[in-house]
Structure formats: C-alpha cells, structure tokens
C-alpha cells in the first residue's frame, strides 16, 4: 500500500523525499555503461544526482509480455498506416499527425500503469488512445468526422478524449497539455488516491514556458506526475539542437530538483523498466519525474510535411536498425520460439481489426446537424 499523502505531510517530508529518490534510484537503475541498445544517446557521465542521464537496462520480457507488446505496437502501426491512407483519399481532413516509429514509448509506459492512472498528450495522439484501450472503431470514426467517433466527430484527430479510459486528450496547442496533466496529478494528491498522471509532450514542447511553471508546482507540491518527453529529434522541421540551448531534455527538471532519466524509447522493455521506476516513485509520494524517451518518427510531422530537414538515409537507418516492432518480433521468433506462421497469424488478426475500424469509419454517418449546437455548455 502506498503511504497516505496529504499535501501537508508531503510538504513536510520534502527533504526526506529527495534523498529517498536518490537512494532508490541508485538501486533500481543501471549505470550508463551497461546500456547497449540506446537509439541515439551518447553514453555520458551523470551530471547531477537528480538529473542523471541514465539508462534503464531492458528488463526481460516473458513470452506473454512480448506478445502483448507486439500486438499493441502493431495495432498502432497498422492503424496509423491506414489513417495515412484514408487521409490520402480525403476521408480524413485537416491535420493528421502519425505516431509511426514511436510505438514503443506509449505501449511500454502503458504496461506499467494501473486502473485509474490518467494520460494526457498532444495532437500526436492516436497511439496513446489505442494503448489506453480506446476502441479502434471509435478513434477511426473520429478521424473521419463521423457520429460514432469519440467526440461525435466534433474533435477530430487532435482532440479526442475518453473519461472511461482516463484519457484526457488530445491537445492541439504545443505545451498546453503539460499543466493539464499536472492538474490531474494535483487532483490525485488532493483526493489522496495513489493514481499517477502521465503527461506526454514533445522535444519542441519542452521549451514552452508553461512546462517550467508546471515543473515548479509539481515539485513544490509533490504531485504524482510523470513527464514523458517524447524526443523524436524534431519539432516539425527543426532539430532539437537548432531549437534547444541544452539538448539533454531529461535534465530540464534540474532547477526544480526533479529527477530525470533518458531512456531508449525504441526498446519497449527499457521503456517499461523506466515507467515502473517512475510510477513507483510517484505513487509513493516522492513527486514528479521526467523520462526523456529517445525515439523517432518515421513519417512527416503531419501529412503535409515535405521533410527536407532530414535525410532519407537517417530515416532508413532508424527503420532498419532500431525499429521497435522488429525488435519484439525477433524475440518472438528466436527467444520465444514462435513460428513465422504464428507471427503472421497475429499480423493478420491486427490487420482485420484495423480494416474493420476503417470500414466502420467510412460507413458511419456524419453527425446530425443539430450536433453543431450541443455540448457548448453543461445544462446547469
């Protein structure tokens, strides 16, 4: 059981909490030297106690865990490919930001969450929704702007929510989801439950002012929030180095004494290990933690991105050498002794789920015109 965490107790225990975080991290975290599979991290000496640039050795996954990770990641990938296709056909409009390449991040984190934990993210949200258990049909129907979509067609790709699954959006404004995720954590603390709020945002978003305002409050009040920075190396067409004075984003909490860790976001097991560590930290009243996931998006920023800012070779290298799904597939075949046919069977299954969602989303009717005027206020 997690200890009771009233705000007053938390405030009183600030200094102990800090040293507690330090010691527990020393035991459950491996050193950078042990790291082998990092996508883009350079091994480097930790700079400070609280913001070590560190790696989580991938924990060993059982066959069931690998199977689950494989299915979930593949679902996201196939779903996104289908969404891209429907966009090209004009069935999805506006902006559509695909998550292809980053699947291990949300799937790995989700594996260590429990009922009641909340998730918020940006406009690149389809993967997060599927990982929290939202229905592919409902998500796809929202993408096509139809009445059975999660927002009845009124939100679209960037703005979807599910109270049932504790998915709090889907936010179109870069940086805006960070205080919101922090507020969800505030509510957890206020209610004295042991839920954590996972707040995802991008490397570009990590420069927004409201991120730091949130960090300060989160640490000040010991809020159970995990800031997951999905560092996919680019904010639109701008590389991290061109936008950020310091590029090790895991250290961005230093001024607030928020511990931060860098993680190989292409390895679902490393992500899970890091998330286990961070959720334990947050649930036990020690406050926020930053996880910088080194990852990569294979597609353009949105569907209308000419992608002149990076080379084809760079993309190809990530795809062939670090692909998250391929890694799990290899383990399924070699470590867990699945046959090619068994893996193909899973692929087929996932494809049919996605095709069903797409079929549904194309045939579902548009919202009733009267929907234009609903949901502006709650009936008071």
């Amino acid at each position: 059981m997690a200890e009771a965490k009233t705000p007053s107790k938390g405030r009183g225990g600030r200094s102990t909490t800090r040293s507690g975080a330090g010691s527990s991290s020393r035991t459950s975290r491996k050193t950078a030297a042990n790291k082998t599979r990092s996508a883009a991290a350079k091994a480097e000496k930790p700079a400070t106690e609280t913001a070590e640039k560190s790696a989580f050795d991938p924990i060993v996954f059982s066959k069931d865990e690998d199977l689950k990770a494989y299915r979930e990641m593949l679902l996201v990938r196939r779903f996104e490919e289908k969404a891209g296709q429907l966009y090209g056909m004009g069935l999805i409009g506006g902006f559509c930001h695909l998550y292809i390449g980053q699947e291990a991040v949300v799937v790995g984190v989700q594996l260590s969450l429990k009922e009641g934990d909340q998730v918020t993210t940006t406009y690149r949200d389809h993967g997060h929704m599927l990982a929290t258990g939202m229905e592919p049909r409902g998500v796809m129907a929202e993408l096509t702007g139809r009445r059975s979509g999660y927002s009845h067609g009124k939100g679209g790709s960037m703005h979807m929510f599910s109270r049932e699954k504790n998915f709090f959006g889907g936010h179109g404004i870069v940086g805006a989801s960070v205080p919101i995720g922090t507020g969800l954590a505030f509510a957890n603390r206020y209610r004295e439950n042991d839920c954590v709020s996972v707040t995802y945002f991008g490397d570009g978003a990590a420069n927004q002012g409201q991120v730091y305002e949130s960090f300060n409050m989160a640490k000040l009040w010991h809020l159970p929030v995990i800031y997951v920075i999905e560092n996919n190396q680019y904010g639109m067409g701008t590389s991290v180095a061109r936008a950020s004075a310091t590029t090790e984003l895991c250290k961005r909490g230093q001024s607030f004494d928020i511990p931060g860790h860098q993680v190989d976001g292409m390895d679902v097991r490393a992500v899970k290990a890091a998330a286990d560590f961070a959720t334990e930290h947050a649930r036990s009243g020690k406050g926020p933690m930053i996880l910088e996931m080194l990852t990569y998006r294979y597609r353009g920023h949105s569907m209308s991105d000419p992608a002149k800012y990076r080379s084809k070779e760079e993309v190809q290298k990530m795809r062939t050498e670090h692909d998250a799904i391929e890694q799990v597939k290899q383990r399924l075949l070699s470590d867990h002794k699945l046959s090619e046919d068994e893996v193909k069977e899973i692929d087929k299954e996932i494809r049919s789920v996605v095709n069903d969602a797409a079929e549904f989303a194309q045939n579902d009717p548009e919202p009733d015109p009267s929907e234009l005027w609903t949901d502006i206020y709650v009936e008071a």
Binding site: M89, L91, G94, H159, V174, G235, M236, T238, S304, K308
Partner: protein, 484 residues
C-alpha cells in the same frame, strides 16, 4: 483485383498536384512505407509511400503530369497472388470509382491559376459556387474594372500574383530598404515557412535577419517587443494566430500599452503576422478568427487584407508604421491569385476602406476572407435585381467607418460579414456606429452574418454549417431589403 494507388491529398487544402517523379517502375516490389513517388504542390514537394506491399503492376499517370486531381488512380498495385492477367481484367472492367473527398473545402488553396486578366480580381466564383447551394447557379462575372485605388497611378501595369507571393515580396522589399527590419518565428527560415510565406528570405537575407525560433510564442513575442523598444523593426510570424494566444499578454500589455504608459517616449514598431481564421477541417483549437479580439485594443493597428495587392501594399505600410500592427492573413487565401500593380514601391494607407463593388440598394461590409462571401452574394443578388455596394474594410483599427457611413447614407441598408463569433464582433461595432452616426438614414436594422456561436467542429458537414457562406449573406441582404 489489383489495388488502385490514388493521388493522395497531402495537405488540408490540396485539390491537385503535379506528379513530379516516380521512384519505382513497373514490376518493382514495394513494401508498406516505401517511397514510390514525389508529388509537388505550390507549397512543397512530398513523398508518397506505399501503404500495402505488392508489385507495381502499372503506372497510370506519367512522370511530370501537372494538375493531377486528388483521388485519381495513379498506379495499380498487384498484391499476393495477382499477376498481369489481373491487370488486364482491371482495365477492361474500368472501375467506376466514387471519388468521395471529405476534405474538399470550397475555397481550396491549390486552385488552378486564373488567366491574368482584371477579371480575376474577383474570387473564383465558379469554384465557390459548387459548394454553396442556391448561389451556385451563378455564371462567371464579366464586369472587369479594377477598383479605383488612388495609390495606383493611371496606366500602371498589373501582374498576377498569389497572396503568398505578395506577402513575401512586401517583406523582401522592406528588408532591402531598411536593415533594421527582420523576420522571426517558427520555421520561417530553413523550412521556408510553415505555409511558405517566407520562401527565399533566408537565402537573401541570411540567418541574422531571418530567424527560426523555438516553439515559445510568449517568449519570442516578448523578445520582439523588447527589440522593437530598442529600435529594431521585427516582423514576428505566428505559425497561425491560434498560437498567438500564448503570447497575448506581451502583445497587449507590452506592445500595445507601452507608448501610453511611457508618456510617448517609447513606441513599439513591430508587426505580428500570420494566418488567422479557419483553414479546412483543423477543428476548434486551430480555426479561430481574432479580428474582434485585436480590434478591441487601443494601441494596436489591425489589418486584415483580402486581395494580393492589398496584402502587399498594407504589409509594407505595417512594417514602416511606428506602432504595433496585427496583420491577419488567411491560409485559404494564400494560394489565390489577384492582379498586383507593378510599382517599385507600392504602399497603401492603413485605415482606409475600399469600395470593392459599387452599388445603390444595400451595403455589404466585410474584410479578409469574408470578402469572398460578400462579393459572391452581391453577384447573386444582382441577378435578382438587388444592387449591392461591397466595402472591404482592409484595416479594422483604425476603422474607416466614414466610408461605411457614406455608403449607408446612399443605400439605407447594411449587412456585415465576418468569420468570427457574433458577440462583440466587428459587425456589432459597425452596427453600433451606424446607429449613432447614421440612424436617420437606416431603413432596416443592421444585420451581421458571422461564424456560428460555437467552437469550430471537425466534421465536414458541421464545419460547413459553422462558417458563414454567400447564401447567408444573400438571405441577410434580402431581409434588410424586405425582399422576401
């Protein structure tokens, strides 16, 4: 049956593009995600990736083909178990594809280039007509006089330009003229602008004057204000004005109010510019019209042009103006072409409306993209014998209310058109001014056609309902004319 690979839409407003290059040939095997072709729009070149795995059976649209409509089959893909025979079958079957294009927006960005005649001063009525119900019976207009503009000397030549090009030229000309003018914003330099408005500026003016910023609107807007206090003349681009809400405090508390608070010592010569209002299907957080918001604020000048010529002449004026200027552009208008006078230094006065169409029965007042609805409605009404005068405000603050009053004194009726929400809108201010200053001349209450009083929905059918359209303008004019 082989799978048809269709010409994809690569942006919210794309309707057609050039098939620039095939990177595969017939008989090549492809896997999902492989790049198979490159497509060019007027904004960018993009790659098309295969969605399924298979063999390229037949290429249907050759390299270099221009103006390929979205959703046209461009190649046939043979999937597992299919061969040449299936291709033949496919050809003889001549599949009738229904081309549902949910993303179609009446005023598409990539419209075909209009003939460079004065006629295209008016919006593309043919295209607008398609999606707009009753008004679509319109035929193309034949009246072709360029509107009188005292700033354009007699005999001036005109050149056809898109709004996008006109804005770029305005910035480039002012940057050549004054070394203190600089551009900053997200993706303005190396990426050439998210909407390609700053295309080529980095190359000409270097990274010292064309500056990519981090995604930190509040920070760089405030930094621009500080630089302006020090005498520089920054042009701050917001990727869209939706993101300027992050910077609202610096725009209003610092840029707009400092001259007053400093007793006139310190002005703020800055331009905040970028696309404003709805694009196509980008939903509530990306589709807001801020005309009413900024025009509320003393200390700011607010410009919202419609045509390329006005965009150019007014942006140049805004850059030279010693005050903070909000310059509201529109994504859908970027790709539209208009005649722009060929003059070395074409600068328009801020704060002057223009009569875009002369008429005597009713006055329609609008600005920015609202002008497309206003002009189209006026043409439809002319068919029915109602002769409207259409006024393009161009500047919202200081507002040229005198021109509106002069027109209403003539017509006795007024309808305003804008995309923003109704409460405290630009139209409501015009209505109140007319009530005070032209009460005796009004034969009917002033009506405002606005965006609906709801956040912008994503669904195609709801979005269309949320936006103002020519039909609503026609109805409003008939109402104030007691013509129904």
């Amino acid at each position: 049956m082989p799978t048809e690979i269709l010409m994809p839409a690569l942006s919210p407003t794309m309707e057609e593009g050039k098939l620039a290059k095939w990177t595969v040939k017939e008989g090549d095997e492809v896997a999902a995600g492989d790049v198979i072709a490159e497509i060019e729009t007027d904004k960018a070149t993009m790659e098309v990736e295969a969605v399924d795995e298979g063999t390229i059976g037949k290429i249907l649209v050759g390299e270099g083909t221009d103006a390929v409509k979205v959703n046209t089959p461009i190649a046939l893909l043979l999937t597992e178990g299919e061969d040449e025979g299936d291709l033949k079958k496919a050809e003889s079957a001549k599949t009738e594809k229904t081309k549902s294009n949910g993303a179609a927006h009446p005023e598409a960005d990539e419209r075909p280039k209009a003939e460079p005649t004065a006629k295209s001063l008016e919006p593309d009525t043919e295209k607008l007509g398609k999606a707009d119900g009753p008004v679509s019976v319109l035929v193309a207009m034949d009246k072709a006089e360029p509107p009188e503009d005292p700033e354009v000397p007699e005999g001036t030549e005109f050149e056809e330009q898109t709004v996008r090009e006109a804005l770029r030229d305005a910035m480039a000309e002012e940057m050549r003229r004054d070394g203190d003018v600089l551009v900053m914003g997200e993706e303005v330099a190396e990426y050439q602008g998210a909407y390609k408005v700053t295309q080529g500026l980095l190359e000409e003016f270097s990274a010292r004057r064309v500056i990519d910023t981090p995604i930190t609107e509040h920070g760089f807007a405030g930094l621009g204000v500080g630089a302006a206090f020090a005498g520089l003349k920054p042009i701050v681009e917001f990727m869209t004005f939706n993101f300027a809400m992050q910077a609202m405090d610096q725009i209003i508390n610092s840029a707009a109010k400092t001259l007053y608070m400093a007793g006139g010592q310190m002005g703020c010569p800055i331009v905040f510019r970028g696309p404003n209002g709805a694009a196509a299907r980008v939903a509530a957080q990306h589709s807001q019209d801020y005309a009413g918001w900024y025009s509320h604020v003393p200390g700011l000048k607010v410009i919202q042009p419609h045509t390329a010529a006005d965009a150019k002449g007014l942006l140049k004026a805004a850059i030279r103006d010693p005050n903070p200027v909000i310059f509201l552009e529109n994504e859908i208008l970027y790709g539209q072409s208009f005649p722009v006078p060929k003059l070395d230094d074409f600068v328009l006065p801020i704060g002057k409306a223009k009569i875009a169409r002369k008429g005597s029965d009713a006055t329609i007042v609008s600005f920015g993209i609202g002008m497309t609805h206003a002009l189209k409605a006026a043409e439809a009404l002319a068919e029915e014998g109602i002769d409207c005068e259409v006024i393009d405000l161009r500047t919202l603050r200081p507002m040229d209310i005198d021109s509106v009053i002069a027109s209403v004194k003539k017509t006795g009726r007024c309808v305003t058109v804008e995309e923003g929400w109704p409460q405290n809108s630009v139209g409501s201010w015009i209505a109140s001014q007319l009530m005070v200053k032209a009460f005796d001349y009004l034969d009917a209450p002033v009506l405002s056609v606005t965006g609906k009083d709801v956040p912008m929905p994503y669904a195609a059918n709801l979005e269309k309902l949320a936006l103002p359209n020519p039909t609503e303008v026609v109805e409003a004019v008939k109402t104030v004319s007691y013509a129904k």
